[in-house]
């Protein structure tokens, strides 16, 4: 139970910069998620907190202690490793109890803790097995259990649920979240699964190439992505991003990109001729039969049925748009349709890809 602070952290591997100028403050008891594509430095950040790597520059604080140069054992963190790192010569029960045994916890207390955590992670029948006799998902749960029996200041989870099937993952997610909330122990959770990040976190940090792009609540990340990268990364379907420019047409401003064109209200404060990227979430793209030959026309490319919803891919000349709509009579491939947008969901990004603040309809 402590806050965790990164102050301008840099980390270099040879001539590869893994982390660059990371500054962030994680509040006491917060469930904080690091989200980003493979190789962006998520594991490196956790290893820095755990003390398995040392920062080249900057400070890390846990609670009121500067732990930047403290060895791992003294930082009071518990970590679930991406590759589990279960001790191969110990049984599941011994693996889970190891952190308690070396801290000289009384035997009865250990038994009790191991039993309760094993039960909650469906590991009861496996306690006497060796790690090599477990499936990937089972190993992962043992790794989680080994962290959860401890009483650390901070939990570090490196993609702890990546190997579980959908149902177990749901259960484990709720279990982790509940324990974390009950104990109030600060948690730093790494994932590249944006759904997981959105579902579990108090706050999400989006990481790209060793830099923090945005740190905010899941809600804000979704509704106000800081740049095109975040916009494309977050959401069950990536946001449609169309590069084009603003053009004045009589009284109206229009955004156009090739054959694609859509009217924009003038009051968004953007100048005529500005080059920008328009972002629209697939949930806010609709279409209807082309009866009156409207301006923005599209052709249905492909239809994907997903239970209660469907994803339709539409093309307007060179521009491809995805639309996610409730299931109805599926449109035919090749059919011509008229597009309609929920313009309140328009996002505008400048030439460098950064969000244009206040440019909201």
């Amino acid at each position: 139970m402590a806050k965790l602070v990164f102050k301008d952290i840099h980390k270099q591997f040879g001539n590869h910069t893994a982390l660059e100028g990371i500054s962030v403050e994680i509040a006491e008891g917060e469930f904080f998620t690091l989200l980003g594509p493979s190789g962006c430095g998520k594991t490196t950040m956790l290893r820095l907190i755990a003390g398995l790597e040392t920062a080249d520059k900057g400070e890390i604080w846990i609670g009121d202690r500067d732990v930047t140069y403290l060895p791992p054992g003294q930082r009071k963190v518990a970590m679930v490793f991406q590759n589990y790192a279960l001790y191969p010569h110990m049984t599941v029960a011994e693996n889970i109890s190891y952190p308690l045994v070396i801290k000289k916890t009384p035997g009865g207390r250990i038994q009790e803790k191991v039993k309760s955590v094993a039960e909650r992670l469906s590991l009861k029948g496996l306690l006497q097995r060796m790690p090599s006799q477990l499936s990937g998902g089972q190993q992962q749960r043992v790794a989680v259990a080994r962290a959860m029996v401890q009483d650390p200041l901070v939990y570090l989870f490196d993609e702890p649920l990546s190997n579980l099937d959908a149902k177990l993952r749901q259960e484990a997610r709720r279990f982790l979240k509940r324990i974390q909330k009950e104990t109030g122990i600060t948690a730093v959770y790494v994932t590249h699964d944006q759904t997981e990040a959105m579902a579990m976190s108090d706050r999400v940090a989006v990481l790209k190439d060793g830099r923090l792009i945005q740190v905010a609540s899941p809600e804000t990340i979704y509704t106000e992505p800081a740049d095109v990268f975040v916009a494309g990364f977050v959401g069950s379907l990536p946001m449609n991003l169309i590069e084009g420019k603003l053009e004045k047409e009589g009284r109206d401003l229009r955004f156009s990109a090739g054959e694609f064109s859509v009217g924009i209200d003038e009051n968004i404060g953007l100048a005529n001729g500005a080059k920008l990227t328009l972002g629209i979430r697939p949930e806010q793209v609709f279409f209807e039969p082309d009866s009156d030959g409207g301006r923005t026309r599209a052709v249905i490319d492909d239809v994907e049925q997903l239970g209660s919803e469907m994803t339709v891919s539409l093309s307007i000349g060179e521009v491809i748009l995805l639309s996610r709509i409730p299931k109805s009579r599926p449109p035919k491939t090749g059919e011509r349709v008229k597009l309609r947008f929920d313009k309140s969901g328009f996002h505008f990004f400048d030439e460098c890809g950064n969000r244009i603040a206040g440019a909201k309809i």
């Binding site: 755990a50 003390g51 398995l52 060895p71 791992p72 054992g73 930082r75 009071k76 963190v77 518990a78 970590m79 490793f81 590759n83 589990y84 790192a85 279960l86 001790y87 191969p88 010569h89 190891y98 952190p99 070396i102 801290k103 790690p131 090599s132 990937g136 190993q139 992962q140 080994r146 401890q150 190997n163």
Partner: protein, 273 residues
Amino acid sequence: MMRTRYGTRPFILAALVLIGVFFLLPLLWLVSTPFSAEPTLAVKFSQPSLGNFLKIAANRTALIAFKNSLILSGGAMILVVVLGSLAAYSLSRANFSGKQAILSVLLLFSSVVTGVAAMVPIYTLNSRLHLIDTHIGVILIFAAGFLPTAIFILKDFMDRIPRAYEEAALVDGSSPVQLFRYVAFPLARQGLAVIAVLTFVNTWSNFLVPFVLIRSNEKIPIAVAIYQFFSEVGIPRIGVISAYSLLYTLPVLVIYFWISRRYGFGFFGGIKG
């Protein structure tokens, strides 16, 4: 096709039997001759007798030699395992400049120290250090001779053990002693077992080093003591020598089975996922 297969079979079988007999005969001789009253160089089972063993039991030097051999080989084994594992662990885990050079030199030295060519300098060295006719002198030479090879093999073995286990143990809060005792040692112990047995077997059969460095009869190991069972005119007393040789092989077998039972040989490791 069938014809050729059945056609060649008897020949292959005959050849295999021949090879088998060739290797089996000396072993048969070794287990039969000591119990024979009239030992010769042929494999014969005649007039079983324990006379040869009784002669050994009556020879004080022969008995003490057993103890001496155990001290020398056991001492070398412990020294090699302890020093070798520490050295190999640092070479495997630490990165420093010149590491590659050290490894190449190790490989080069692995066959030099106990070789025949080195006996003169070894004798001089021991003599200057007043280690002539001491067990410790022989143990040090034995250990020095085998350590380069041991470190090389162990380093390779430890390189294959993922660091993740040690990292997990560190984050879990292990002290250095706990890290070694509960994680590093158990993970490396199969490699250590291989090295322990290799050291023991190698030094157990080493004749030259103790022969050169040890003077007094009370301190010689078996390999040298066997030499005594030649009569004054240099004719081997076959019965006694074979009985002694049989006894001589027993500790090696015991060590081998004991260590393999307790620690298991072979290299495991690897990390799933």
